[in-house]
């Protein structure tokens, strides 16, 4: 009898342990999902109430050290503030589940255009806090207002004011000019000139073909965004670009828009033959390698390419070169798309005031210097004096005559089964492989554009 009782107690304990350990792992799971690299500064003189700020930052090509340093500097300047920092490569996976459950970070650094589209979803769902008043704030520790420090143009884009109502919801950070990257060493060796127009481009393409080099490659079709935006602007000016971004009626039938598709259609014939097979997230570096190996001349990319391919083998005498997109005709404008990332505050954030102060702080010279050390260039006036090396060349592209174009598509309500990214960029893979004609490509874009126009916010 005693034995039986013991057995019962034992089994009860066992069951309890199971249940509790279940809870236990759930608990640790949660903390794991936000592995906070919290640099907790103990407030030395707490005259004010201690405050807690949750910052979530995406870790990309720039690494994570800069965020640790910036947070440290912010905490030093605000001794009563403790910043809880979440740094993750797959930031969506780290903060997404908690956000679904109603637990939001206060400040998020996660740009538009990521595959998981968390930021786009927040925009589409009106989940962002308006930041227009942050622009009027004085940068902590300085005299200037935030809006006076930001380079003009960055605050007039759909990537910062997604609802085109003059209100800013996303703060622009870390910009990078996009254009065509090439091996400057090869051009010197062969005595080739960088083409200024597409006609010159085709001539160069034929010359290179004779030497067994393809004119063009692209990492994945998604990299065509900067390429196409800049080409649209070169073809029809900023008006065409804006009309396209707001899904203007009939815009895809204009001769200027068609001209860009025709160029890409012709470029498909000059594209390196292995490009399409490797144009996915697993193999895109093989396409980038083509330029390093002198198998292809040009590829659309951003300044991060230098760091990304730093350890890759390369042809003798390789040297990075960077140019804006060719003009459509002699004497036409040349454009370079400016890619930049965004910082935002969720509407549901707890410490909104402190979050705004932190965002304003990101534009201080102190923070900009910390970012620049890791190659992340803040769009603030006078940043060029902080640049060195390859970056000096890349960021001088606008000084040498190229015009800038920024932003992206206007926010719409989500439309089931319709995705502009897929029809406009990803479809190019089919054009290169011959599965679609340029005409079919345009038809697909038109159809998606019509559906999205109806859902414009």
């Amino acid at each position: 009898m005693k034995e039986k009782k013991l057995l019962k107690i034992l089994s009860a304990v066992l069951v309890l342990t199971f249940i509790l350990s279940g809870c236990g792992t759930a608990g640790t799971g949660e903390t794991n999902s936000t592995p906070s690299e919290s640099t907790s500064a103990v407030p030395s003189e707490s005259t004010v109430e201690p405050q807690n700020l949750k910052v979530a930052a995406f870790v990309g090509g720039y690494g994570d050290q800069m965020w640790k340093d910036v947070v440290k500097a912010f905490e030093d300047a605000n001794p009563n503030v403790t910043v809880e920092l979440t740094l993750e490569k797959e930031l969506e996976d780290a903060i997404g589940p908690a956000m679904k459950a109603g637990d939001y970070p206060d400040v998020v650094y996660l740009a538009l255009g990521r595959p998981d589209a968390l930021t786009e979803t927040m925009v589409k769902e009106n989940g962002l806090l308006e930041l227009t008043d942050v622009l009027e704030m004085t940068v902590p520790g300085e005299n200037a207002k935030v809006k006076d420090k930001i380079v003009p143009g960055f605050l007039d884009t759909l990537a910062t004011n997604p609802y085109s109502d003059g209100k800013t919801y996303l703060a622009p950070v870390f910009y990078s000019p996009c254009g065509l990257f090439y091996n400057a060493g090869l051009f010197k060796e062969k005595g080739w000139e960088i083409p200024q127009t597409w006609d010159e481009m085709w001539k160069l393409g034929d010359k290179a073909k004779a030497e067994g080099i393809s004119l063009f490659t692209y990492p994945t079709a998604g990299y065509l965004d900067g390429f196409m935006f800049a080409s649209f602007a070169a073809s029809g000016g900023p008006e065409l670009f804006n009309s396209i971004c707001t899904y203007g009626e009939g815009v895809w039938d204009t001769a200027e828009a068609r001209a860009v598709f025709d160029i890409l259609g012709k470029l498909a014939e000059y594209t390196e033959p292995t490009t399409v097979g490797n144009a996915n997230n697993e193999n895109f570096k093989k396409n980038q390698q083509l330029v390093l190996d002198n198998k292809a001349l040009f590829m659309p990319n951003g300044t991060w390419i230098v760091g990304e391919m730093a350890d890759s083998p390369r042809a003798d005498g390789f040297e990075w070169g960077f140019t804006a997109l060719p003009a459509l005709a002699e004497g036409g404008d040349r454009y370079s798309y400016t890619f930049f990332e965004q910082v935002w505050i969720p509407k549901a954030a707890e410490n909104q005031e402190l979050a705004k102060k932190f965002v304003a702080y990101l534009y201080s010279d102190e923070a900009a210097q910390i970012f620049a050390k890791s190659g992340a260039i803040q769009p603030i006036i006078g940043i060029s004096s902080m640049l060195e090396g390859d970056n000096k060349l890349f960021y001088s592209i606008y000084d040498s005559g190229a015009k800038a174009v920024m932003g992206g598509f206007a926010a719409t309500d989500p439309v089931e089964g319709v995705n502009m990214h897929d029809v406009l960029y990803t479809s190019y893979n089919s054009v290169v492989s011959g599965d679609k004609t340029v005409g079919q490509w345009i038809e697909g874009v038109k159809e998606a554009s019509n559906k999205l126009r109806a859902a414009l916010k």
């Binding site: 039986k4 019962k8 089994s11 009860a12 069951v15 199971f18 249940i19 279940g22 969506e92 997404g96 956000m99 679904k100 595959p115 998981d116 589209a117 968390l118 786009e120 979803t121 927040m122 589409k124 769902e125 009106n126 989940g127 994945t220 079709a221 033959p273 292995t274 490009t275 399409v276 097979g277 490797n278 144009a279 996915n280 997230n281 697993e282 193999n283 093989k286 989500p414 439309v415 089931e416 089964g417 319709v418 995705n419 990214h421 897929d422 990803t426 479809s427 190019y428 893979n429 089919s430 492989s433 599965d435 679609k436």
Partner: protein, 300 residues
């Protein structure tokens, strides 16, 4: 307390944790998939709008969904047929006593199943590489070493080939696992049956079809259900890691399409509608297969 009663309490207590976990992690999420498929929702905000069966109506007219569904069915059919045939055949061969090095082959065939899908994708992206992949390097032996890259097949770039490239990777990954399952079934068949069959003059092939297959039929039926479930799941993993659904959506399968709609396209409700269709499809298919393969159980 009576013995019987305390016994049932004990059983109930033992079963409770598993049952609770099952309800929390299986029943409730499945119910939620069906519920959310009736809403228009981005996934993060409070703006959930009930739209009835609207998501399903859009789904019926979505060509990209049909393409993904078609790919899934092709993968399902080919992977099941080839994996089943290979696994059964190899299991029968490797269970023969007089085969040299059979434990070595057993290990070799099982290894792909231990590898993570990401590793398998990396292996196959090296095998399929157009320029210096294993397959094309082999082809060059016949076509000449100076064949231009453009003339070699594109296993991951050609939209008509890519689904089959994925199928090959999936068969390679799966057959070892099923082979081991069939071997377990075959090992339970007494050797004496084969012996008497041999004495009666039955050949090896006849033995395989008349003795082995009927006697492990229940085993085969069970694995058919596994095939359906695991092929749908693993095709998502392989596609995500190997091609990302590309080029231009040519290798998209239902689950990768569901993921893209639910997250990338911010249409979570629509994604869940895809999920609901996949759920019903795999359940119905399993039921049909189960029913169609019903035979009188042969025992020894």
């Amino acid at each position: 307390m009576s013995r019987k009663k305390s016994r049932s309490i004990f059983i109930a207590m033992c079963a409770t944790p598993a049952l609770l976990l099952y309800i929390i992690f299986m029943i409730i999420p499945t119910f939620n998939v069906f519920k959310m498929s009736l809403y228009k929702w981005g996934g993060y905000s409070e703006n959930k709008k009930f739209v009835g069966i609207n998501n399903f109506i859009i789904l019926l007219r979505d060509p990209n969904f049909y393409r993904a569904f078609q790919n899934t069915v092709i993968i399902l059919v080919f992977v099941t047929i080839f994996t089943l045939a290979m696994a059964l055949g190899l299991a029968a061969i490797l269970m023969r006593k007089d085969l040299k090095g059979k434990s070595f082959f057993r290990v070799i065939f099982y290894i792909p199943n231990i590898l993570s899908i990401v590793v398998i994708s990396a292996i196959f992206s090296a095998v399929y590489d157009q320029k210096d992949g294993l397959l094309n390097s082999f082809l060059k032996i016949f076509m000449g070493q100076d064949t231009s890259v453009a003339d070699l097949p594109q296993y991951l770039g050609n939209q008509r080939i890519i689904v089959y490239s994925i199928i090959v990777a999936m068969i390679w990954q799966a057959f070892g696992y099923y082979m081991v399952m069939y071997m377990a079934g075959i090992s339970a068949i007494p050797e004496s049956i084969y012996e008497s069959a041999s004495i009666e003059g039955m050949g090896k092939f006849r033995q395989f079809f008349s003795i082995t297959i009927p006697l492990i039929w229940t085993n085969i039926r069970t694995t058919l259900t596994f095939f359906i479930i695991s092929t749908i799941n693993i095709s998502f993993l392989i596609v995500t890691a190997l091609t990302g659904g590309g080029p231009d959506g040519a290798s998209e399968v239902v689950l990768s399409y569901m993921y893209k709609q639910a997250y990338t396209n911010s249409t979570y409700g629509y994604g869940m509608a895809v999920g609901a269709v996949v759920f019903i499809f795999s359940f119905a298919l399993s039921a049909i297969v189960n029913h169609a393969t019903k035979r009188e159980i042969v025992e020894f």
